[in-house]
């Protein structure tokens, strides 16, 4: 059996070496969820990639879809749970912003079968535009929250979240972080449950939150959350580790708990740790029990000081004099992610242990290294069609054009040699932002990928047509959701489960909206330039659309590659116009790395000396 088969079919007690996200997928399977949805986004993507495969292997098939965005994903899963099917949806932290409108109301109207919402936060912005702390959503929506620390807990808590949701009839949030989702560790499987499904029972006075209904549902939600508090008091995920008498204590959750245990071991001190796995609502009695008789308690958590603030309030409410310290006192950083050494130093300083590790030398050496090593930011891959698209647009439009970018591989267009990203907010923002820039009198171009276009670009384009925004919309259609690992999308003609479906194109939309458009191949520079020029000539009031369509270089088969001949003068026009990683310099001439070349021919087309020639055979690297 391969790994996916083991995840889908493995029996109770079996031991697998799983990525946190694969463990979450197994948790969803163990809970017997029937309707599962997502929009891919790092660090959550592997949950969907796993479930897309396992949904086809599983002997009791469940429904899985890549929805067009997180809001739709949320609604599909939430309503199925309202109708009586266990359901789950998951997304990266910023994805929950997109789904948040539905989230807020789903807390009121609730579900009749278990519904779990998994959010994967990204402390340190490893692959995100911000490092927001989504635990605030649990407070905002007033919903139960579980925070796993490692892959095993990620699986176990996901499963448990379904039964909490079912008990309370509200959605339950599970918050993972990059260091949980992308940690690989040993996971012991649990059994796969067999949960009967129900039918939707019409009840508009519950499920249709017109104001009169909503007011009542808010009260019900508060009541459910006081029941949730009792569950939190009894939860096996809230426990005290090494409860020796001590005037000091530590409270930790999530990945920060793992760092805390290791830091205490390294410090060689035995200090009791209250591990909180269910962090909303908090187990107040358990916390009070832990705080009393302690002089000082340190709170360790990733990102925002949420537990810290809550626990300080609990101490005050219960008239405890225990000193509560953490991020507010500067013992731990509030930006980026924690690690063992940062936690060790914070604990040592907070508890006056005098065992801090001196990081001055390390920081010095880091600065030194940074000053001599060239940066290696992520780049567009060899043969990436976006290189052609950017090159073509750059040749046609004035340099003072404002480039409005979007979320995807093509955000990397901000780097050399293109420098064609000037503003970016979130998924789909390119068209809206270009509209605003255009209103300030500048020429504005929006770059948007195919998956992003379907995700949130549609209403923005409609707005641009309706309000006559003078923007040029450039769809970079590489026929896949590339950045997150090549998931299907409405333009691919396939569903997550491999079924054939209608192929949707941005051209359909342009036609329906009555805006001028042209479709070109970014691998054909001269032809594209001619066609785009024609489009720009006939463009009137409002937006126009260009679709650059060419398959992502990583999934396009390679039949030919290119080599540099003696005609090369070393002018480096190819390198400086495309920045292709396959192009290097060797003895004053350009050299193509044969094992990287994808045969796109762009460099051959830009070479003014006709010095780059096609070779048929694949050269072994």
């Amino acid at each position: 059996m391969n790994l996916y088969e083991r995840i889908a079919l493995g029996e109770k007690g079996e031991k697998l070496f799983l990525l946190g996200n694969e463990a979450i997928a197994r948790g969803i399977i163990e809970a017997d969820a029937q309707i599962v949805t997502t929009y891919p986004g790092t660090p959550s993507s592997e949950i969907g990639n796993t479930l897309a495969v396992t949904s086809r292997l599983y002997d009791k098939p469940y429904y899985f879809e890549f929805s067009v965005n997180e809001k739709v994903a949320f609604e599909v899963a939430a309503s199925a749970a309202a109708a009586g099917y266990r359901s789950a949806t998951f997304m990266k932290h910023v994805g929950l912003n997109v789904a948040s409108d539905a989230l807020m109301t789903s807390a009121y109207i609730g579900v009749t079968s278990g519904f779990v919402v998994i959010t994967c936060d990204d402390p340190n912005c490893w692959s995100s535009q911000n490092e927001q702390d989504n635990r605030f959503y649990a407070y905002l929506a007033n919903l139960p929250l579980l925070e796993p620390s490692n892959p095993q807990e990620a699986k176990d808590m996901t499963k448990e979240a379904f039964s909490i949701s079912e008990k309370l009839e509200v959605p339950v949030l599970v918050r993972s972080t990059t260091r949980v989702s992308h940690t690989r560790g040993v996971v012991f499987l649990g059994g796969i449950e067999n949960i009967p499904t129900k039918k939707f029972v019409k009840n508009p006075t519950r499920f249709v939150p017109v104001p009169a209904v909503a007011r009542g549902r808010h009260k019900i939600l508060l009541k459910k959350m006081s029941e949730a508090k009792e569950l939190s008091e009894k939860s096996i995920f809230n426990f005290v580790e090494s409860n020796k008498e001590n005037i000091y204590g530590v409270v930790a959750c999530g990945a920060a708990y793992s760092y805390t245990l290791e830091a205490l071991k390294n410090l060689d001190v035995e200090i009791p740790v209250l591990k909180l796995g269910m962090t909303h609502p908090l187990p107040e009695r358990k916390i009070v029990d832990f705080l009393k008789n302690k002089d000082k308690v340190v709170i360790v958590e990733e990102l925002e000081p949420i537990l810290e603030t809550q626990i300080r309030a609990i101490a005050q409410r219960n008239k405890l004099g225990t000193e509560i310290v953490g991020k507010n006192e500067g013992f731990f950083p509030r930006v980026s992610e924690l690690n063992v050494v940062y936690v060790l130093n914070g604990l040592s300083a907070a508890l006056n242990l005098g065992k801090e590790i001196d990081l001055a030398k390390m920081r010095e050496s880091m600065e030194e290294v940074r000053s001599i090593v060239p940066n290696r930011p992520p780049v567009l891959c060899p043969g990436c069609p976006h290189m052609g698209s950017y090159h073509i647009i750059k040749r046609l439009l004035p340099p003072k054009t404002i480039w409005s970018s979007d979320i995807g591989c093509y955000s990397l267009g901000m780097n050399e040699p293109f420098k064609m990203a000037d503003i970016l907010y979130c998924m789909g923002s390119s068209i809206g932002a270009a509209s605003g820039i255009a209103k300030t009198g500048s020429k504005a171009v929006a770059f948007i990928g195919d998956s992003t276009f379907w995700h949130a670009g549609l209403p923005e384009l409609v707005n641009a047509v309706y309000n006559k925004h003078d923007v040029l919309v450039v769809v970079l259609d590489n026929l896949t959701t590339a950045m997150t690992g090549h998931q299907v999308n409405p333009g691919t003609g396939k569903t997550a489960r491999g079924e054939t479906t209608k192929v949707l194109t941005p051209e359909f939309i342009a036609e329906a909206l009555g805006i001028p458009f042209v479709t070109v191949d970014p691998y054909e520079i001269n032809r594209s330039i001619k066609l785009v020029k024609e489009l720009l000539k006939r463009k009137g009031e409002g937006p126009a659309l260009i679709v650059f369509r060419q398959k992502c270089a990583l999934i396009r088969p390679v039949s030919k590659i290119f080599e540099v001949t003696d005609k090369c003068t070393g002018c480096q026009i190819c390198i400086n116009s495309l920045g292709c990683p396959a192009l290097t310099l060797k003895n004053g001439r350009v050299f193509i790395l044969g094992n990287l070349c994808r045969g796109c021919s762009l460099c051959a087309q830009v070479c003014p000396f006709d010095a780059i020639k096609e070779v048929r055979k694949r050269v072994k690297g």
Binding site: H182, T183, V186, N339, I357, K361, L380, L583, N595
Partner: protein, 196 residues
Amino acid sequence: MKEYNVLVVGVGGMGVLTTAQLLARTALKQGFSKALIGEIHGMAQRGGSVIAEVRFGEEILSPIIPFHRNSLYLALELFEALRYSYRVLNNDCYAVLNNFFLKPPLSKIEMSSETVLKYLRNKFERMEVIDATKMAKEAGSSVSANVALVAAATAFKFLPLGEDSLKETMKEMFKGENLELNIKTFDYTISRLGKR
């Protein structure tokens, strides 16, 4: 040995994550009770600089290697070897470096391997520099440079992992031509270094 911490660094596409899995899975196979890998996915993989942290032993609590507890530093590329060297705060760490540069596209910085090695020389208990990419190419294809580097680490006895169990894990992880290539590279590297 209580714990073993391997920092693997390189460039996206060179097999950093594969190397990490090869080590961790072999460690579990050999009876180490705990193993964790800290991985980074997504944006970082588009030809960017990549780091993976492999930890195994009797008690492994968290996925990020503490700066002062490194056991082995495996670098698939020399700029990356330099970039992450600050992460090794302890001086009893071993290192195996691939004598290979992959210049970032458009970068104007030129550096010789001597410069890099001079900088790193006093950082490690022992540092070995091998031509992993070259040896992999000789054995079949440069894509197996990561396997050559692991083979070298075992040949130098820097890893408590056996050749046979590493090859067993490869049989689980790779298939067909790929597997053949990796096994060939592994054996070739061991025999080359053995004859040194």
